[in-house]
Symmetry: D2
Subunit: 243 residues, 4 copies
């Protein structure tokens, strides 16, 4: 692992341009808010990337020097090039950590790695969310109490169509009556993946100290120690074959 | 679940046409050998399908009336249409069972559902394989002893790049010195998936009674009780929101 | 598997004797209510057993002819003999299914099989519980909708100190603000274990049709196909050792 | 986590006293060999403890200042006091790491935490073992190649009666024809558990550099960040109950 974890925050960056309410919360975009936090709180080396930049923000050089990628997308999932998704999948399988945020559950890269629809139940009704820490000793839960609350959130409810997670770190309670597996981990290839539910664009969720703490923790957890080659070796026998 | 499980055996069916040795073992193709067994031993309703048939053997009507699909492919994985893979993935997520055989580890449909490279170590050296039953109480192991042997097999060795299986039912020992997770289960969406290693085209492996027993067991295990719709519902709150 | 599944419902049977409210709900005891249901709905062969009977209700002959054991206990966990717990553990590891109900989370036999404290958060406040079906295609969820409700329940909340379940079938939402993994499966040895949260003695929960449906489903799911011996064999080599 | 990980190596320490061959390999006992290595290679704070010391080597003060406990036992498992096992289980559930070595699969503490018999197949025939690294990106596999070999080993073979591990890091191939899940991880409560197969008393296995590397890695992986209290809280509602 490089001495300082190299983080890239990717953001679709469309809502912020078209919606006044979102712009007020995230004047330079969600990516800037998250990047500023990750630099300041944790001292990571952080870059940002957005959909409308050249190569959709992720030229090979940047992909290949990213240890942990955060992904926020919502309305433009379909615009992300399949060839970029191929590269990101390949980089995750080689070891890069991937943190998928909120509506990123429907991103191409997450669905590619999960193999499922990643469908869920949802509602925008300004309701309270209480996020319970189910695995308090997991590194992603470091520094949190028994639960934390988000006063106004979009609701995501079960069934969430994902493969059984390695660990469910957080479970959400919603005022309107639903529950959700809000923090889930998987390994795919040599890469660690964390899905984290909170984060709607019209609420100040990425200014919430517990949410930011989780993201710092998750970057540390997801950063690889090293990278691995993909191969299909065809070696000679290690022991004599009697035939 | 329909009263009789509806099975489709899909085979690439190329080796049998070009290679005399394979043709001698499977004169009408691997699919015919497997289908005949599954009809006779278990009374399933069995159809076959091959790559060079119209719609690559799998028109929508057949896909949508298949409860369990067996998949054998090797040299022509790349020829399988992505649009067909989309349909098969969707059908598995809705509940159809999928049994992936041997070199099918590199098929598009298996890699799509796993999200990983599915790479492995391999060797053709005519060596002995001993398949240990690690989970004797799993339905797929019904009727087997502690292990069974295949006198001459192609070797597949670890690391096998797959997501951690729900259950590892079989582990293989190879004469040349390797080991392999030879029988693995996963659930994706509502569908059950079983990968089963044995089955090279130049050995009479699909005439081996224990191998055939495993396939019968696996079909019964993978058959769904019912099918589910994919959706992303947007319901009203179940409880009052105080706002 | 015997043609008809042999079920034993074990109940501590103390609250019903000392508490008028409980006696009104379950005049002959919780065990009688559950046994009558399981006989009638599913045609199982059902026996009952209670703590104050000889051999605490479970002589060897009954243990060894039980395919699935349901366990309800609360105030007298400590009175159950360790030697009985040894036998029950051994029978589960050989294949017997075990369904642990509600306050049975703290029973000796459940803690023995889990290896953890099985602690949880709890409250008696007459609150509403909504039980979400997270794995609708699991056999234990057969016949249920997206969720079902219990109008007045004791609350159990996370963190629930259990090993990561094989599958979390149900998640509960509580009116008072908590969430809980209410339906969890594990395999230990050759036995299948299901923990099911609903069931407080002062509410008519074991008269609720969805609760009863879950228990019928769970018995079918947990019943073994066969039983296995415990052993530590010391066999000769299968292959020549060169030394 | 304390700045330096506090490791205790517990050894039954009987074979070394009664068997000349064992004494030659481990003149001061297996615990001394392991402790010296862990101090030297990794700079851990290491203590040792043996069965015939007062309080079986593990007074409360030592238990409560141990971050990772290594456990080697074989012929005297039955002599370990149940009250000590209670304390060790409790400490693991609070966060202490536990590394169980070789014949420790039958120790009381391991069986207590697993809930199963931990039975396996075994043979002493001086045979070769090749240990495959199935999860090369797991922290416990740091610094290893694709596999490593032990020229003369006692054989342990499947079926190994354990709960499905969180991760199987190592799989063994044995010259005599068996396979084994040789490196397995679980979490119980807040503690991390690693079982590692190699280590018979009559072979110089604890002088093997790869075996020692694994143990160093495993201590780092198993050390907790903090400890947790066990409790069963009974809190007031967080939301109003309408009743």
């Amino acid at each position: 692992m490089p001495e300082r974890i190299r983080v890239t925050v990717w953001n679709e960056f469309r809502h912020e341009k078209s919606n006044e309410k979102v712009r007020k919360l995230y004047p330079k975009g969600i990516h800037h808010t998250l990047a500023a936090h990750l630099k300041k709180q944790a001292g990571f080396t952080v870059k940002t990337a957005t959909l409308d930049e050249p190569e959709q923000g992720l030229p090979d050089k940047l992909i290949n020097s990213t240890d942990v990628l955060l992904w926020w997308g919502h309305q433009a999932h379909g615009e992300v090039a399949d060839s970029l998704v191929d590269k990101l999948q390949s980089r995750v399988l080689a070891g890069m950590g991937l943190i998928v945020l909120h509506s990123g559950h429907h991103s191409k890269v997450f669905r590619r790695l999960m193999g499922t629809t990643c469908n869920l139940r949802w509602r925008e009704a300004n309701e309270k969310e209480r996020i319970w820490v189910v695995e308090p000793s997991h590194p992603i839960a470091r520094g949190l109490g028994e639960y934390f609350e988000i006063p106004h959130a979009e609701m995501y409810g079960e069934r969430f169509d994902i493969p059984t997670p390695d660990k469910v770190v957080f479970l959400s309670w919603f005022e309107g009556g639903e529950v959700f597996r809000s923090g889930c981990t998987w390994q795919r290839g040599h890469g660690r993946i964390f899905y984290f539910r909170p984060g709607h664009e019209t609420y100040p969720i990425y200014h919430h100290p517990d949410v930011l703490q989780v993201l710092t923790n998750a970057v540390r957890w997801a950063a690889p120690e090293r990278y691995f080659e993909h191969s299909c070796p065809n070696p000679a026998p290690l022991e004599a074959i009697r035939g």
